[in-house]
């Protein structure tokens, strides 16, 4: 907006550019290179042109079918966890204390799952949900509900969704809490004078103020659930059968398990393009909000 135009700013960006180019562009070039070749081991490569990409887009082929079904599972997973975590996160943020020692205590407790290494998250839920040694699995089985995430796809899905809700709802809640804290007191007082109901306060004051952070929360949660790997890998290993094999698990199977470099590379590129597209949509929405923000903020601050 009123930022001065100065191309010398590029000098300040250069270090970041260098490191990210080193760790993003060079590897991606390798991937592009692999994606048009076939290998029979021994480091011998053969030109395959667009062959892998054709197979990728053809659902009747082995590769295309696997990618398509893991994409479907992954989208379903992202949809489910967003539908649970966003409302729950908002509810928790609204319920959080606003002052006193309770704030620090709640923040520390809530942030804990975020700082657990992802495979340990898997381990925690493994020992928590197992029927023989886990509190949850044991209790649910005692209630007479058959529950075994190792053999039952539905139980496996429930476990993984519960694990993700446990792991990441706090992030949504913390972001919403930040949005709520930025609401000036005067808004609440004005609402009280107007006799606004609790719902009206939420709908017309709190929700609009949280819009920005909510978009960030949805973006982060969608992206991270779209590339989830470690947690389901530890708990179910992608099973039973293929029922919890998400995109990243499929990809690692191809690349490091079967060493199908060509297929894996072609899949990587398609995967990355999907991510880029979604990311671009969110980015556009966010930049538009950024443009709107200054007027609203100056009005609130004065």
């Amino acid at each position: 907006m009123d930022r001065p135009y100065d191309n010398r700013a590029w000098l300040l960006v250069l270090p970041v550019l260098a490191i990210v180019a080193f760790s993003a562009v060079i590897p991606l070039m390798t991937v592009v290179n692999y994606s048009v070749q076939d290998t029979f081991g021994n480091n011998q490569f053969f030109w395959n042109g667009a062959g892998w990409f054709k197979e990728l887009l053809d659902p009747s082929s082995d590769l295309g079918g696997r990618v398509l079904s893991s994409l479907g599972r992954n989208l379903a997973f992202s949809g489910i966890i967003l539908a649970i975590e966003v409302p729950l996160g908002i509810a928790v943020a609204l319920a959080m204390p606003r002052e006193g020692w309770k704030v620090a205590a709640t923040l520390v407790l809530m942030a804990m799952p975020l700082l657990v290494p992802w495979n340990v998250v898997g381990t925690i839920w493994q020992v928590f949900a197992r029927g023989d040694i886990g509190l949850l699995g044991y209790a649910v089985n005692k209630l007479g509900i058959p529950y075994n995430y190792v053999s039952d796809p539905i139980a496996a899905w429930v476990t993984i969704v519960a694990m993700d809700v446990w792991h990441w709802t706090s992030l949504v809640a913390l972001l919403c809490y930040a949005g709520l804290k930025s609401i000036p007191d005067a808004y609440y007082q004005a609402a009280r004078i107007d006799g606004a109901s609790r719902w009206a306060v939420f709908r017309f004051i709190q929700l609009p103020k949280m819009r920005r952070v909510l978009i960030i929360a949805v973006l982060l949660r969608f992206m991270d659930s779209f590339m989830i790997y470690t947690e389901p890998f530890v708990v179910t290993g992608g099973g039973p059968g293929n029922s919890t094999t998400f995109l990243s698990i499929e990809l690692v199977k191809l690349a490091l398990g079967q060493f199908d470099l060509g297929k894996a590379a072609a899949m990587s590129i398609a995967y990355n393009l999907v991510i880029l597209a979604v990311c671009w949509v969110f980015y556009t929405v966010m930049t538009n909000l950024d443009v709107e923000r200054p007027q609203a903020e100056t009005g609130a601050a004065s």
Binding site: D6, A9, L12, T106, I124, W166
Partner: protein, 288 residues
């Protein structure tokens, strides 16, 4: 300072008065249930680490009948276990310092200037934060083997820059945009050079932002496993990888696994504790 505290206290009390009118009745219950849901699995892990394997497998006990610290003793005395923690902490530390040092000038550029291709560049950075690590596992393996950094903490630290540097730029940019530009201009009028202004005036102002950024860099580097495991074999093996391997080797040593898990929680809890005030303030100031 005292005036500030007084105003803060006044605001806080009026907030509580204002809020008491709007409180959802179930609020406290929601929060309690949620925290209970968060703590139960952790409780179970801690409890399990204090049990003997015989007790774990023989039946269901809500707390250990016989507290044992043998699992922890194994980890602290066996080099193949505790070196995992040292490896993890060293690459996380390198990565955090590296990310922040690189991101500070870039975030300043994005928050203060427009330049050719700035929006596209910012988007490209952001997209790298979102790229699935699974895509990069194999190319990174080749790349770091080729330049001779494979199986060192530096390989993992550099690899984690892929997502931590963009994230750091993003968060810092949010914090810096909250600082009025008049401060820069006044400093330049007073004859400060750019580096001196940045170090002496600007960095103290955004100290909270730097703290929050460090927290996020620490967090995402500490929890990542896929790249860390791919880029190390023996010498720089992270604790998370040690856990997955040792456990699948000789049956299931649940007690030891749980103890190792509990110990991976400790650095996280410490970091949260140190930045808890920054988080509370920081979340409101920055974007994330």
């Amino acid at each position: 300072m005292s005036a500030e505290t007084a105003t803060a206290a006044a605001t806080a009390s009026s907030v509580s008065r204002a809020r008491s009118g709007f409180r959802i009745d179930g609020g406290a219950i929601t929060l309690t249930l949620y925290l209970l849901f968060l703590m139960l699995p952790i409780y179970w892990l801690v409890i399990m680490s204090l049990k003997t394997n015989a007790e774990i497998t023989s039946g269901m006990t809500l707390w250990p009948q016989q507290i044992t610290f043998a699992n922890y003793r194994t980890i602290f005395t066996d080099a193949s276990w505790y070196s995992g923690y040292i490896n993890s902490l060293s690459y996380v530390a390198i990565n955090t310092v590296l990310s922040i040092c690189l991101a500070l000038p870039a975030a300043y550029a994005f928050s203060r200037y427009r330049f050719l291709g700035d929006k596209h560049l910012f988007f490209w950075l952001l997209s790298n934060r979102m790229a699935p690590p699974a895509i990069f596992a194999l190319p990174f393996f080749n790349l770091y083997s080729a330049i001779g950094l494979f199986d060192t903490p530096w390989a993992v630290a550099l690899a984690h820059c892929l997502f931590n540097v963009p994230l750091a730029v993003w968060i810092l940019e949010g914090f810096m945009s909250g600082v009025p530009r008049e401060i820069d201009e006044t400093a330049y009028l007073d004859g400060y050079s750019f580096p001196r202004f940045f170090a002496k005036i600007f960095m103290p102002i955004i100290a909270n932002g730097i703290g929050v950024t460090a927290f996020f860099c620490f967090m995402f580097s500490w929890v990542e496993l896929l790249l860390a495991r791919t880029l190390t074999t023996v010498n720089a093996k992270p604790i998370a990888a040690t856990m997955t391997r040792t456990v699948s080797a000789a049956g299931m040593d649940w007690g030891l696994l749980a103890a190792a898990g509990v110990l991976t929680l400790v650095p996280g809890v410490l970091v949260i504790w140190f930045v808890r005030n920054y988080i509370a303030k920081g979340f409101a100031l920055g974007r994330v």
